[in-house]
């Protein structure tokens, strides 16, 4: 009893009772349970989808995820556009890391048209730089954002400021801050501007400092530990059962990283080892992401040191207005900040794709896995759980 009082652990000995077939006996007319709809009421990450919760007090006994409020039909829109016209649409599928979508469209079209061998090295290095910068800005928001869900706002402020600096670098490299539209079929759309590396290095130094400070703020924080350790545990068995990927899988002890397992671009030339943890709870996931923040800063330094100074940025491709790709299909996967991120792409010999299907990590993390993890969670921890699973409803629904 005392433990329950201090550990905020509910007494689950009586409710809910279990039926003979194993299902929960939730009788709403008994006045012991409450139905609560959480969302869709918010333009932010966790509020784009709805959760139908059955509560016992402030504890969740059953949770159902409902998506469908954000469906924009982007895949169909891309299927009705020329190959080169797809990328400005694709980035809207996932705001958090738009570059991943750009790269996937480019990689799919290049592979199916046979131009993947002709992409200039310079373009490949710039693509890697842009993808790692996208990961970095995502982590700068995601890592302190985890504390933000527990109302620790100061880390979010630090992170957003540093993310803005990375967006400044994106702005000068790609011409835009959020929707970069930089990676295009055949290559990229610009070389590094003069003095880019020096300015980037200045920002990375600030981020180094931030990494130390955020550790003290979050990971050596009694409240953060209290609320995240032991919460939302994804076990090793669940990783394969649900198809969990990325940092979520790595925090459960499954070392799974497309950059290592199936290297693309020049990732095989970079020196890195994806961080892992064993616990599989919210704390472990956040801590793995914090380690990945260190690693991403290091990767950007490696890329800037190894990339050539000059070179072509785009392969000589057919006229974009007349470009037809022979019949074929492919599935290209890469490691985004949230995990394995893939695109299924079918062409039929015409000037437009026949089928485009995006398969992001949120689809498993944020729908099926979340339903499982919601049970027995306190209502105040739902957002922490969703953020720790890196749920991104725009990518679930496209």
């Amino acid at each position: 009893m005392l433990n329950n009082f201090f550990g905020f652990k509910p007494d689950r000995s009586k409710y809910p009772s279990v039926n003979e077939d194993g299902s929960l006996n939730i009788d709403l007319s008994s006045h012991q349970y409450t139905k609560l709809w959480l969302g869709p009421n918010h333009p932010g990450v966790t509020g784009n989808m709805a959760m139908e919760l059955t509560l016992n007090g402030d504890e969740i006994v059953e949770g159902k995820t409902h998506v469908g409020y954000l469906h924009r039909g982007f895949e169909k829109l891309i299927e009705r556009r020329l190959f080169v016209q797809g990328f400005p649409t694709s980035i809207r599928m996932c705001v958090a890391e738009p570059d991943t979508n750009e790269y996937l469209i480019a990689a799919c079209t290049e592979e199916l048209s046979g131009y993947d061998k002709q992409i200039p090295d310079m373009a490949k290095w710039l693509r890697m730089l842009s993808l790692e910068m996208a990961r970095l800005q995502g982590l700068l928001r995601g890592v302190p954002g985890q504390a933000g869900t527990y109302s620790l706002g100061i880390g979010v402020q630090w992170g957003v400021y540093l993310r803005d600096l990375i967006l400044d670098r994106f702005e000068e490299l790609t011409g835009a801050r959020v929707y970069h539209m930089y990676i295009i079929p055949g290559g990229v759309r610009g070389l590094l501007p003069e003095g880019f590396k020096a300015r980037m290095e200045d920002n990375l130094k600030d981020i180094d400092d931030f990494i130390v400070r955020i550790k003290k703020l979050m990971f050596d924080n009694a409240i953060f530990k209290k609320r995240s350790i032991g919460q939302g545990i994804v076990t090793k068995e669940m990783v394969d059962k649900y198809g969990v990927v990325g940092t979520t899988a790595r925090a459960s002890g499954v070392k799974r990283d497309v950059r290592k397992d199936n290297p693309y671009l020049f990732y095989d030339q970079l020196d890195f080892d994806p961080p892992t943890a064993e616990e599989g709870d919210i704390y472990a996931r956040t801590f793995v992401r914090w380690q990945e923040l260190i690693q991403t800063v290091d990767l950007i330094r490696q890329i800037m040191a190894k990339m050539p100074e000059k070179g072509d940025i785009r392969a000589q491709m057919p006229n974009v207005l007349n470009w037809r790709i022979p019949k074929g299909e492919t599935y290209v996967r890469i490691e985004s900040g949230r995990g394995e991120y893939g695109m299924y792409y079918v062409t039929d010999g015409s000037d437009k794709p026949r089928r485009v299907n995006l398969r992001g990590p949120s689809y498993t993390h944020g729908v099926a896995l979340l339903e499982d993890l919601l049970v027995n969670t306190n209502i105040a921890d739902i957002h922490a759980l969703m953020v720790s699973l890196q749920t991104c409803p725009p990518e679930i629904e496209r």
């Binding site: 080169v84 501007p193 400070r213 409240i223 974009v320």
Partner: protein
């Protein structure tokens, strides 16, 4: 968890004394030099090709007419209007812009209470940001949305061709043709400029799709002489090709030749492809004078409408200037025959060696036929009328070129001087060089023109190729006297030409006497233009029709002669001179004849 964890987070207070990092005035913040903000367009460079509209994935761009910009050859007169309710700032429009006129500035903050203001024409509607240099421009290096370099057609080396009249430009292979056709952005600027308004983007698309039969159908919609035009057309389309603004223009002419070359010389096959196997006759008869491009074109389209056409030709074979003016190395006779045979197969009757005026009169034609089309062309050489030009060793290029085709004896001397800088001058220069090579084993032809090298009217490749074949092209000199000694031509005295036209734009060349040169030669060929021979028109007819101040017959839009409704006139004597104008005239005259004869219907 330990007691330290309770106090460590308070280290965040160390930031309290630091300067804030927020920007006080975000509105005034200058964006990066590459930032994609609002559009700007250099409307004087822009040609309104509409490629931006074609690539825009949101249909945010509309090409609209703009006050003060007129539609002209090579410029649609339209300019892009951007709808910022749709624009996603991807700048694909900038990346594909054929003239590099469109760009995005780095201005991104603009507030307006009227939503309609967010639809404007960049470069036309005044905006504050046009003077900003920064913004998105087409990336460099080697970033092209379409091929910039032309696929060259193979040709025989000068050594191999200089003594022979065989065609020296080889055709495209399938791969070459498709690679070249891929560069087309299908803007249609060419179609508007082509006198015959050929469906150029459509037949280039047929090349891309490897559908030669569709290509033939597109060609024959507006041009019944594709083999000929595919070789010697003056390709005004290529001069205005939008792709040519920042790269090589498309080889539109060679692609046309490629399509026509793929179809075998079989009139039944032609009829099968073009669906002309069974043409109903309407019982009306049309007489056509001259079998040049305008006459053949008129006959073809009249035959398709069911008219029975008879072509009267003074010379032994059909083709007019195309056969008797253009040397065989540029246009082989079998290719002329291929086009002519198909027109004959449509039921057009050819009467050769018939001289209108002597063998049969125009009045007789009027009686025997429902209407007459005359496209008699420019077959009279013009003389410079300088001292000595009446010598027997001074020739006219048209006469010599005709004699070469007729296989009459052509006088060839060891040293030849040609006066003229047009394509006909190049034709006679290169023909004489070949004859010299055959007879003497060496070339000695000097060609001089009033115009300087830059302004010579001849096609650039003609000049280059003539030089490759050993001819001397010396532009910028005006002929003053043909030096005659003992009745024999010794050379041509020329002065440096300073200017050709006076302030009023009239032909009035100025010379620098101090810079005098003598081009030595045993014969001089004048090639300074041709005149028309209208002697077949009787005085009575002449009194009924009108002539303009250049001596040309006045016709209306249907090429119907003013004053004589049954007489239609076209070809070089009206417009041109070139083949494609003749084809266009003939086509429109055919429509005019149909209108005239079916007015009551």
């Amino acid at each position: 968890m330990n007691i330290k964890d309770i106090f460590t987070p308070f280290t965040a207070w160390s930031g309290v004394l630091k300067d804030p990092v927020t920007i006080k005035n975000p509105i005034g913040r200058e964006a990066a030099p590459r930032y994609r903000g609002f559009h700007d367009n250099d409307i004087n460079v822009c040609i309104g090709c509409g490629t931006c509209e074609a690539i825009c994935e949101n249909q945010a761009i509309d090409l609209v007419p703009v006050d003060g910009i007129d539609t002209k050859s090579g410029d649609s007169g339209l300019r892009p209007k951007i709808d910022y309710g749709r624009c996603c700032w991807c700048a694909l429009c900038v990346d594909i812009c054929t003239t590099d006129s469109l760009r995005l500035t780095n201005e991104y903050t603009w507030v307006d209470t009227d939503a309609d203001n967010f639809r404007f024409i960049p470069g036309v509607d005044p905006k504050d940001w046009y003077e900003k240099e920064d913004g998105w421009r087409k990336p460099v290096p080697n970033y092209n949305f379409y091929g910039k370099e032309r696929v060259h057609m193979g040709e025989l080396h000068a050594d191999e061709r200089s003594d022979s009249f065989i065609e020296f430009v080889k055709g495209y292979s399938k791969e070459q043709a498709q690679q070249e056709a891929d560069r087309c952005v299908s803007c249609g600027i060419c179609t508007a400029t082509c006198p015959a308004h050929m469906g150029i983007p459509e037949y280039i698309k047929a090349v891309r799709n490897d559908d030669m039969e569709e290509g033939m159908r597109v060609l024959y919609e507006t041009n019944p002489l594709p083999e000929i035009c595919g070789r010697i057309c003056t390709h005004k389309c290529e001069d205005v090709c939008s792709v040519g603004h920042t790269g090589d223009a498309l080889s539109i002419r060679w692609l046309k030749r490629y399509i026509a070359d793929q179809i075998p010389a079989d009139t039944d096959k032609y009829k099968d492809i073009l669906g002309t196997g069974d043409l109903a006759k309407n019982g009306k008869k049309i007489a056509i004078i001259g079998s040049g491009p305008s006459g053949l074109s008129a006959a073809h389209y009249l035959a398709l409408l069911g008219y029975s056409c008879t072509i009267f030709e003074k010379l032994p074979k059909a083709g007019g200037m195309m056969r008797y003016g253009i040397p065989e190395y540029r246009l082989p006779y079998d290719q002329i025959d291929k086009d002519v045979d198909y027109i004959a197969a449509l039921g057009v009757e050819f009467k050769y060696n018939v001289n209108i005026g002597t063998d049969i009169t125009l009045e007789q034609l009027e009686k025997d036929y429902d209407a007459v089309f005359s496209g008699t062309g420019l077959h009279l050489g013009r003389s410079t009328r300088i001292p000595g030009s009446d010598n027997e060793n001074v020739y006219q290029s048209v006469d010599l070129l005709r004699d070469i085709v007729l296989e009459k004896p052509v006088p060839v001397k060891e040293r030849v001087v040609v006066i003229g800088g047009g394509n006909v001058a190049m034709d006679i220069t290169r023909s004489m060089a070949r004859l010299q090579m055959q007879q003497f084993g060496k070339v000695n032809v000097i060609t001089t023109s009033l115009e300087d090298e830059e302004h010579m009217p001849a096609d650039r490749e003609e000049i280059v190729e003539a030089r490759e074949e050993g001819c001397s092209i010396i532009p910028g000199y005006g002929p003053q006297e043909i030096i005659i000694e003992d009745g024999k031509v010794k050379g041509l005295k020329v002065w440096k030409c300073l200017s050709i036209f006076d302030e009023k734009g009239m032909f009035n060349p100025k010379f620098d006497q101090a810079e005098e040169r003598v081009f030595e030669g045993d014969m001089v060929i004048e090639s300074i233009g041709q005149g028309m021979d209208l002697s077949y028109l009787t005085e009575e007819i002449k009194s009924k029709i009108e002539f303009n101040n250049r001596g040309r017959i006045v016709v209306d839009a249907d090429f119907q002669a003013k004053g004589l409704p049954w007489l239609f006139v076209g070809g070089d004597i009206i417009e041109g001179p070139d083949v494609i104008h003749g084809i266009a005239n003939g086509h429109r005259a055919a429509m005019g004849i149909d209108k005239f004869l079916n007015q009551g219907r």
